[in-house]
């Protein structure tokens, strides 16, 4: 089944759910900041500590840190309402599905650290495990040291070609705080990531804790004016599909470096 009419949207509407987070670390303008590890509503997420990592799913039980999401009794789930504001300025807020994350890196090593990621759950943009539309990001979970290494990840693309590699698209900097999120690019021609084989730092990051995350963007809102909120709904948000097991979380690309609050809400319809 699928929702193909406005009446279907109304019939399948689920409760709107509130989120509210205080962003305490100093940020860098335009550099994405994950809200996964922050307390608030919802509470803080946790991180894996193994190089091979774990896939994440909300089907059996919600994952700590995720925005509430429940599988439909039947049919599909679609985004029908997403609003957010950031009180310290403008920027951009993404709503993303957190598919996999790992940990256990030796942050002082500049050798390739091998990873055998498990098969993704069927939540790429086609609802498959191939990884189309699945991206990678490096998330800092404890402030890193005074260095600015290049991050190189070796991966298999969504067409199942191995040996692909890419680096961080936003330059690293000394001592990024917890929550700093460095998206990893794609090699030319690639549309997503099926699995991860290794991560290499060009130089030691001295100290701290970092994690690699596989995620898929569901939607985003552009906070165009300072402190103004923004909304998408079922008519303006492209009715993005949210597959069973989705683990929604937020990533903010701020226009200011100061601490502030992110608030908003999420609504879905199912049928």
């Amino acid at each position: 089944m699928a929702i193909t009419t406005v009446d279907g949207v109304l019939a399948g509407a689920q409760p709107n759910r509130f989120f509210h987070k205080a962003i305490t670390p100093t940020m860098v303008i335009a550099r994405p900041q994950s809200l996964w590890g922050l307390g608030g509503i919802p509470g803080a997420g946790s991180f894996d500590t193994t190089l091979d990592g774990v896939t994440l799913s909300s089907t059996s039980a919600l994952v700590n840190g995720q925005l509430p999401f429940y599988d439909p009794a039947s049919g599909q789930t679609y985004l029908s309402r997403f609003s957010a504001h950031y009180t310290a300025g403008g920027g951009f807020i993404w709503l993303a599905d957190r598919i996999w994350h790992n940990g256990g890196f030796t942050i002082t090593s500049n050798a390739a650290q091998s990873i055998t990621s498990p098969a993704w759950p069927s939540r790429d943009e086609d609802g498959a495990t191939a990884g189309k539309g699945v991206l990678l990001g490096l998330e800092i979970s404890a402030v890193a040291g005074a260095a600015a290494p290049t991050i190189t990840v070796s991966y298999t693309n969504s067409d199942n070609t191995s040996g692909r590699s890419a680096t961080n698209t936003f330059a690293t900097a000394n001592s990024p705080t917890a929550g700093a999120f460095f998206p990893i690019g794609l090699q030319a021609g690639d549309r997503g990531v099926k699995s991860v084989q290794s991560l290499t730092l060009s130089t030691s990051w001295v100290s701290g804790t970092m994690n690699l995350v596989a995620y898929r963007i569901i939607a985003g809102v552009d906070l165009a004016a300072g402190s103004a909120g923004q909304v998408i709904d079922v008519l303006t948000g492209n009715m993005s599909k949210m597959y069973a097991g989705t683990v929604p979380f937020l990533i903010l690309a701020p226009s200011a470096t100061t601490a502030g609050y992110v608030s908003g809400h999420l609504g879905v319809t199912q049928g």
Binding site: V9, G40, S83, G229, L235, G267
Partner: protein, 277 residues
Amino acid sequence: MSITNRQGVIDGLMPPIPMFRGNGGNNGAGQISSSWASAGQMPAGVGAFSASLNGATLTGPGVSGQIPLNDAASGERTYLARWAHRPRRSDLLVPMAGILIDRIWHNGGIDATSTSAQLITSPTWLARDEDGSTNGKGVLLAVEIESTMGAATPTVTVSYTNSAGTSGRTGTNIFATTSGQVAGAFLPISLQAGDVGVRSVESVTLSASWLSGTMHLVAWRLIAMIQEVSAMQLVALDAVTSNFPRIYDGSVLFTLGVNYSTSGPSGCSGEIQFSQG
């Protein structure tokens, strides 16, 4: 029965209700202010507070301060069909957000000078969580200020039982408290990791004396939220764009406002309309 199509929305439309109300004091950029106890022409009446630690659940219609709403006829349901909201501010310059919520429970009698745990035995919630049950899924907590607090900035810690029935959970104020926090401030309490709502409240503890003033705890649930994209602009939701939230019988609806600057008290005007069927 329930409404599952546009014709049903139209068939069940109730008369629009005008709204014109203040939002209490402004504690700074980003802070949330409650309209509960603010004077305003519509809806009539000023919300009252409980004076006991155990507090009281709230059931409409007829609660002073609530947006007027009668229960649906037997076998029918109520939904939000339209909400038009325009912030009004003394400086007329800065946008804000509006939040429509159901006030499920509130308490009082909290000793603002005590740093001991003040025990609370909240009554069973009404069947108005997001599933229409008493479990508390989607039910959140907040501190609401009735009269100006003293010159201190305590952390407020609440012990609660989550919607899955697990006791001993704790949360704290997400917005930092401010010295001399003014009446109307509404400070949401965080959820412990993994929780999706609150079933009951067991205690409240201040990390330091707040010296003076009157504070309350409120249990509430989000119905809808509007983001204002420019100053003084009226923004409207309808049945489709609001995600058609269901409103359970007995709901006690009122609005919150998010302040984006420190200047001037804020409020809102607009109208709200429900559909029943």
